[in-house]
């Protein structure tokens, strides 16, 4: 079992390592804490493969583990957090400071990350998985939220993201 666990972890880390980094970035702005969070994701992923029963795909499993470790991290750090908002109450896309000298893509990423950090947990979860390119069905499988709730959120976040893209392009 231990060899299986090691092999599964190694495969998953090779294939989804970059996704783990992006999810960690979605949940933690501070570089040092983000590195801690990323380490925790990898350790938990390795441990979790001891209990992997194949009832879902490895991709779904990896996203679940990463999301759950990130959720624990946010719950622990909640007292230090900004006032979080929902997708339908956020009025403007936050600006990460002076981006005048940055390229368009960098400005968009900067604003996107700042936006994600402001969102309440369910919205942040759906937003991150949508950006990862998961379908609504896959997001439902990872999150356990109802398809209706996910469809509503995807519709709202599309409007928000389109606005963000145009604002970043005008920087």
């Amino acid at each position: 079992m231990s060899n299986d666990q090691d092999a599964r972890y190694a495969d998953a880390a090779a294939q989804w390592g970059a996704a783990l980094q992006r999810i960690a970035r979605a949940y933690e702005a501070d570089p040092e804490r983000r590195r801690d969070l990323l380490q925790d994701m990898h350790v938990t992923l390795w441990k979790s493969f001891a209990a992997f029963d194949g009832r879902c795909s490895v991709r779904t499993w990896v996203y679940r583990v990463a999301s759950n470790v990130a959720a624990s991290h946010v719950a622990r750090e909640r007292r230090d957090r900004l006032q979080l908002v929902t997708l339908d109450t956020i009025e403007h896309v936050p600006d990460e400071g002076d981006v005048g000298e940055k390229f368009e893509e960098e400005a968009a990423l900067s604003r996107l990350t700042a936006l994600i950090h402001r969102l309440k947990a369910p919205d942040r979860q759906v937003m991150t998985l949508y950006l990862e390119g998961l379908s609504a069905d896959s997001i439902a499988e990872v999150t356990g939220l109802s398809p209706g709730a996910i469809a509503t959120r995807i519709s709202r976040l599309k409007v928000l993201l389109t606005r963000l893209f145009h604002e970043a392009a005008n920087v």
């Binding site: 801690d36 925790d40 990898h42 679940r64 719950a75 622990r76 996107l112 990862e132 709730a149």
Partner: protein
């Protein structure tokens, strides 16, 4: 390429940080606490250890048996609080591992419930254990002599009670906020 596709591409192509962990490193780290838990616990245990040392020293050098007893009770109360924090922290870490592969909403709900219950039970594991030491300390101040000593003791009890009530109220409000978050999550899950 649509605007949304471009945003997704920006997200997917963001700079990758230099990070790697071998299986051997993972195994080594897995035998200790999670990094973020370890850092948080270190801070809390350090504060607790300092308080235990200070109150133990105060008990040793106290001028009267009653004030020595008060300081010893307080040190024991702090030790109890540290032990409960350790137990609660360990339960949280074990939950994080055991439920790692479950869907996010179920996992996050359990996390919120665990935190809410810890906040609701603040008297039993955090404030309550400190009460005996505080009470005996102010009694030890009162019995030193005269009316003024008792007035100071009563004022001290009132101040201590006010601080404890403020802490309890802050935790109660935090528990209510967590319950509201749990309710919203339940609505979303069923929507």
């Amino acid at each position: 390429m649509s605007d949304l596709d471009r945003i997704q591409a920006v997200w997917a192509n963001q700079p990758k940080e230099n990070f790697s962990m071998s299986v051997a490193e993972i195994r080594e780290r897995a035998s200790t606490l999670q990094s973020t838990v370890k850092r948080r616990n270190f801070r809390e245990y350090a504060v607790g250890a300092v308080l235990i040392v200070v109150f133990s020293a105060a008990a040793y050098f106290a001028r009267t048996p009653l004030s020595a007893f008060a300081c010893a009770l307080t040190a024991a109360g702090v030790a109890f609080v540290m032990w409960r924090m350790h137990v609660l922290g360990r339960a949280a870490s074990e939950h994080e591992i055991a439920a790692a592969g479950s869907c996010w909403a179920a996992f996050y709900r359990q996390e919120l419930v665990r935190q809410r219950d810890a906040l609701r039970g603040i008297w039993s594991w955090y404030l309550g254990p400190l009460v005996p030491g505080m009470v005996v300390y102010w009694i030890s101040v009162g019995v030193k002599g005269g009316m003024w000593s008792w007035l100071i003791a009563v004022a001290g009890v009132a101040l201590t009670a006010a601080v404890f009530a403020w802490v309890a109220d802050a935790n109660k409000r935090a528990a209510v906020a967590l319950q509201a978050e749990i309710d919203v999550l339940d609505q979303i899950k069923e929507a």
